[in-house]
Symmetry: C2
Subunit: 359 residues, 2 copies
């Protein structure tokens, strides 16, 4: 049975990428060694990390005055590292649009004066609050946003990204490479790799060079951006395999036509689901239409029993990891770059069939 | 050409382990998914992490009052995390027997009163200092040792592991699973996986449960042992692929006969090299014989040009990553569990041949 993996992360990777990794797993590039047992100080691995960075810079159009860092620990570790590196006067403003945005703000509040500049928590994160006007403190050290909310299925669309006096810091874990991001609008972007880039174990930080120089005294050496920036992400052994897989995935994305082409396909995939959901009373998506994510599409039937039955039958038919996050319930289809159009079409067909049998 | 990989880390993995990973890379355990794209919340991955922990507990005989944590960031991140979690009165004593031991002490000194209880730095780390008597402060929060020194090729043999009042904390990155370790003598053991356990990107912490409860206020959430202990190492997405590879490697080690059997093979492999080196004036190992590592065997010819020629010719003959660390020079053969006996024998033959041609 063909399996379609709708997991929110770690997530589906392109079959071509997995096949190439499989082909060369015992002998990378005629070295006679596996990429997973090769010293990170070899010429072969150095070429891998350089090529990964250069592909990312090319595809995302990252300006030269930004570092690209390959780190460990997940976006969650950045929730600590950001205040420890970027608080100078001690003030930062956070926009809370979901579970991870809230965790980021909580972690930061241990180190400084953190203001929640906007939040949609009181409405179960069903929309993106207005981010214009003077909601941000002009003397804040930075402004933190989460541009796609994995659990709730919302996103800050490009036209709503705020223009701020302080540098904008953005967790884009769940839509990096899935949509165009104008890097120069940000002081720092960061993303766990396990959704749209590579297997779990890699976190990418894209940060303006002049923002890496003033960590707090209490910042652990390994959480300082300067530690990794000064050593080309090889202060210690980097997560070699996820970096290599990111390279393969970026090559695949480049061959596909780049991020703009991928964004168009992602918009199409998402519209297949949203258009069908909106066309029936059987399923419902609770996010304000203009704020809907094109990566994570949650939906409910309105009945907890029917939802459970859907998840069970879907699994039996090869639509796996489609259960919604426990704080939301229902279902969630995460349709990252690696999910083919036919996977989404097959899911819509299954949803129609399930509706017919249960309405 | 057959390649033997003598890298100090990431390092050679057993061919059988790599082949199994390759076989199931596109379809793990009939799930229709790759292990690298599977949600860490699936039943299939939960079984992987549980089995990895249970194999490690069985093989290392880890008592029930210890947590086994699967973390990210390398042993270097533990250099920060240890003082941030374990300093209570603010005092800790460190034994400095090499480069990483020194880095661990330096990181800790940012957070408390750190005493270097013993060091062989003034003699280029060519031996393990005496660790008996009252060199440790009885009121220290913990004592830190590095039981195998990757760069210099020394180790603290079992009979020299100190008996201390304060809990013993040990970086065993470069010989975990290669030699028996009596876990109950330690408060905490930790190891980067990329030498003897799995590909890079996983750090294993084995810690007494009662030592995880008093992190300092400034300890980042993601560096607290309690964060990971309370969540079965799944507070956030763990490094799934290295954990899976650790499982395969531990299964291989169990089939081999366990750690004691492996230690005997490692002693034999090391003796092939040391016996030959000691039998000739052409090569020299600078470590005091009773303190020699059985994992990392550095040697020099005494001539920098000959050393460079050796490294070059060795590489051309399939003995790769054998260049010594820059602070030591010469050559270093890292002969972890994954290095077969025939690899060491072939290297000794090459060394003999090189000697014949150049003495």
């Amino acid at each position: 049975m063909k399996v379609y993996n709708f997991s929110a992360g770690p997530s589906v990777l392109p079959e071509a990428v997995l096949k190439r990794a499989q082909d060369e797993l015992l002998n990378y590039n005629s070295t006679g060694m596996s990429i997973v047992e090769m010293s990170h100080r070899t010429k072969a691995f150095d070429e891998v990390i350089q090529r990964t960075e250069s592909l990312l810079r090319e595809l995302m159009q990252i300006p030269d005055d930004y570092y690209v860092l390959f780190l460990q620990g997940g976006a969650s570790t950045q929730f600590d590292a950001i205040p420890l590196n970027l608080l100078k006067t001690g003030k930062a403003d956070y926009v809370v649009t979901g579970n991870f945005a809230s965790k980021a703000a909580q972690a930061a509040s241990r180190y400084g004066d953190i203001k929640i500049a906007a939040s949609s928590k009181q409405d179960n994160y069903t929309y993106i609050p207005d981010l214009t006007g003077d909601i941000f403190r002009p003397d804040a050290d930075y402004i933190h946003i989460t541009s796609n909310n994995t659990i709730f299925g919302s996103r800050i669309t490009k036209d709503k990204i705020p223009t701020t006096v302080a540098p904008l810091v953005c967790d884009c874990s769940s839509h990096i490479l899935g949509e165009e991001i104008e890097v120069s609008k940000y002081g720092m972007l960061y993303a766990g790799a396990q959704k749209n880039i590579a297997p779990a174990g890699l976190t990418i930080v894209i940060i303006k060079k002049d923002m890496t120089t003033y960590p707090m005294d209490i910042c652990p050496i390994m959480l300082k951006y300067s530690t990794h920036a000064e050593n080309g992400s090889m202060y210690n052994t980097p997560p070699c395999f996820p970096i290599y897989m990111a390279m393969l995935n970026l090559e695949w994305l480049k061959e596909f036509g780049g991020i703009k082409a991928m964004e168009q396909q992602n918009i199409y995939k998402a519209s297949l689901l949203y258009d069908y959901i909106d066309s029936t009373d059987f399923y419902k998506n609770n996010i304000k239409p203009e704020d809907r994510s094109i990566m994570n599409v949650p939906f409910v039937t309105g009945s907890a029993e029917l939802d459970a039955q859907f998840v069970k039958e879907a699994g039996a038919n090869g639509f796996v990891s489609i259960k919604g996050h426990r704080v939301v319930g229902g279902m969630r289809a995460s349709i990252y770059n690696g999910m083919p159009v036919e996977g989404v079409k097959a899911l819509v067909e299954f949803m129609k069939d399930f509706e017919m049998r249960n309405k």
